[in-house]
Symmetry: C2
Subunit: 447 residues, 2 copies
């Protein structure tokens, strides 16, 4: 029999609401993967909300929720430091596991909080605190656990990256882009934390600890913002084959490259020229990315949305799922205990969703048709496609290259393969078509 795991969500702002929505949207998936029922029992909110399931208790006394017998896991998404810290400590002392997105609190008081959690035998999980939906905490704590991390470099502030991207792409000056970022809601009214690099420094302190096994030392991060970057330097950098990104670096300097006195760890946040063809240089807009160089793995890159309700909720709930696997383990069935299912979903929950046959698949197409140089042939081809309900996205007709044959290149929007098969058979029967039609699938990789 599966257990029920009871969650409290403290704070119903953007992230808290995102968590509620995620659980509503993906409830079946969560159960199929974890084998447990995940239930929101209480939410902490200052004003009563009528868009919340009435079976959920709403309470403005957050300290009471943090100690409630009706709660297994406390999700702290109120932000800020003083109140959040008091609540988190109260939850830990009451034996609750805590999941948080609060990078500032952990970067500045994490050593104390984690020690308290160890003493009280609970977990404080914080995937959402760094790089939003990118699972960089899990990757570095678990997936790279056998590696020696040499260095990491990250775009870990979306606002800063948006500003640097716009400056370069559109030649707009810093102040101008910052004003737009504020209008779009990417940057706060007081943008200091973003543009001076403090937010990135909070995240870097967390990443550096789990990379090198050192206590959190936010106060030692060297921090330089992007307020001094001019279009002039952006353009010179491009001319020399580089791009300016605002990056956080954590670098281990050892005897290999420094003298004894300089051995140690560099923690620094600053604008940086990096080669234009590096993937990191092509992470644009509000996206985040972290590049990790480790031995013996080499370089790996992790990229995605660094903020926003959906991305942050995904990270919060990944932590919850890890805890659920421990808490939900049935003592009678130790084989399930702490066990991620082999195929990610509980074995009895695998579905028999059919795998489609090739003819049922749907993709865009690139077609190359070799036609004799006949004025009507393009019209014939486009009519056949149009009759088959296939939409053309682009056509490229090249000059004849031999004996009057002209290649016609056509890109189509997505279409069911069987329709495309029929259309191609008709095109190949045209008298003016010289050869088999070459086809390659096409995908815009759109969301």
């Amino acid at each position: 029999m599966s257990k029920s795991i009871k969650l409290a969500i403290l704070g119903l702002g953007t992230v808290g609401t995102g968590v509620v929505n995620l659980i509503n949207d993906n409830l079946a998936e969560l159960k199929r993967r974890s084998g447990s029922d995940i239930i929101i029992t209480e939410v902490g909110t200052r004003r009563q909300r009528d868009d919340i399931d009435p079976t959920i208790i709403q309470n403005d006394d957050l300290m009471a929720i943090a100690a409630s017998d009706n709660v297994d896991i406390v999700i702290e998404v109120i932000g800020g430091i003083t109140l959040a810290k008091d609540i988190m400590i109260h939850a830990i002392k009451n034996g609750k596991h805590v999941v948080t997105a609060n990078k500032a609190l952990l970067a500045e008081h994490g050593n104390e909080i984690f020690a308290l959690a160890e003493a009280h035998n609970v977990h404080v999980a914080y995937e959402a605190a760094v790089a939003g939906g990118i699972p960089i905490i899990k990757v570095m704590r678990e997936a790279l656990a056998a590696n020696k991390i040499d260095w990491l470099a990250g775009i870990i502030n979306g606002t800063g990256n948006f500003i640097m991207t716009e400056m370069r792409d559109k030649g707009r000056p810093f102040a101008d882009v910052l004003a737009e970022a504020q209008e779009l809601g990417y940057a706060e009214a007081d943008p200091t934390f973003d543009v001076e690099g403090i937010d990135a420094a909070h995240k870097l302190a967390l990443l550096a600890s789990i990379a090198f096994g050192i206590p959190l030392q936010f106060d030692k991060v060297y921090c330089e913002g992007i307020t001094g970057i001019t279009l002039q330097d952006v353009n010179y950098a491009e001319e020399l084959g580089y791009r300016i990104k605002h990056l956080g670096f954590a670098v281990r300097r050892d005897s290999k490259d420094n003298n004894q006195e300089d051995q140690g760890i560099e923690l620094r946040v600053h604008p940086t020229l990096i080669p234009q063809d590096a993937l990191l240089a092509n992470v644009n807009g509000v996206k985040n990315a972290v590049l990790v160089s480790s031995h013996p793995l080499g370089q790996t890159l992790y990229c995605g949305d660094g903020a926003g309700a959906g991305a942050t909720a995904s990270a919060v709930m990944a932590d919850v799922m890890d805890l659920v696997r421990v808490l939900g383990a049935n003592d009678q069935d130790s084989s399930r205990s702490h066990h991620v299912p082999h195929l990610a979903f509980m074995p009895e929950q695998l579905s028999d969703t059919p795998i489609l046959r090739a003819e049922q698949m749907k993709t865009g197409y690139y077609l190359r048709v070799h036609a004799y140089d006949n004025p009507g042939v393009l019209a014939d081809i486009t009519r056949i496609l149009s009759d088959a309900g296939i939409n053309i996205d682009a056509i490229l007709q090249k000059p004849a290259h031999k004996l009057g044959e002209v290649p016609v290149i056509i890109l189509t929007l997505p279409v069911i393969e069987s329709q495309m098969n029929e259309a191609i058979a008709k095109i190949e029967k045209l008298a003016a078509v010289a050869d088999k039609v070459v086809r390659i699938r096409l995908d815009e990789l759109a969301q």
Copy 2:
């Protein structure tokens, strides 16, 4: 008191040797992170090896090792199907946990193997089976566990990606590049598995199961290789703003975009045109990458080395570390049980490595010097840098843009910041230098 976890490595080829080397290189790090001693007790190898620690038992009877009382975890890296399957089943029946890199075996017989493992209460872990060192299995099973996966697209065969990259970059025909890939050891003498997409289909079957919660169905993957791709099509694609990559797709088609009859899952491996500015289009050479689109997270990308001794050993040992955390848990100290340490390393193992001060840090630099248009000034600047031991990587001198001032742009190799501070102070004192020197750090992001 920490426990010792005993490993057997079956097969001492590239990957097996990589695992031995990783453990030798990173032994201290493994213990700091897991709290347990990790010991190789037995290796399975056909011929006696004299480069292996003599305390490790070498044995050519792999079935005996799989049942040995001297082993907790069996690492299967012999490859192939028949023997590997027999050994794995024997290990499972003898209560051993198994870690494997064998994609073909799992894609074709995984349903049976995982069911047996469930019945015997052991884990079969397979991070190394897909995309080498990229932790895509952990990411999809755990980090994205709260998401509904919509689709994924992956460059999951390094040889194929190397061939497509070379064809585009250097305008070389398929057969030519394939021959080189074989010489470099990227492609087997019989390259069928790589160039016909079978290897990618094995990996896609695994990814699709953990994305959608379906049994492994390798036999239903639609599979098309790259042997038919011509330079002509590579070039037309580029002209239209696309790039051809050999991709594996797993796509959930639901009522939103298909009629009832076409609902289901598409599993397909084929050459695909994707937009040139997509990050996936810029993953080159033997690198692998997987792009996952899920709700509510959105798109995330994971990129790194998909093969090679170091990357594969990293993935094998990540699985081992997960198992060690379960096996190594001390019953007397349940707080440590199944617990990834908050800061990735055991709390008592955090180190006091110093964080370097800004003046001790070492980076390359971009310098912009505003000088009066004086013929000697460039010589003065370069002499100051050279005297300070700073190596110049590039110089760009722009024509004067106002009142005879000329910006001189200089890129330097990495240098300790205090040296750069001194050099800049001297440059700013030059009579021909008009203003403060603008400096931005520079990093090549090299391994």
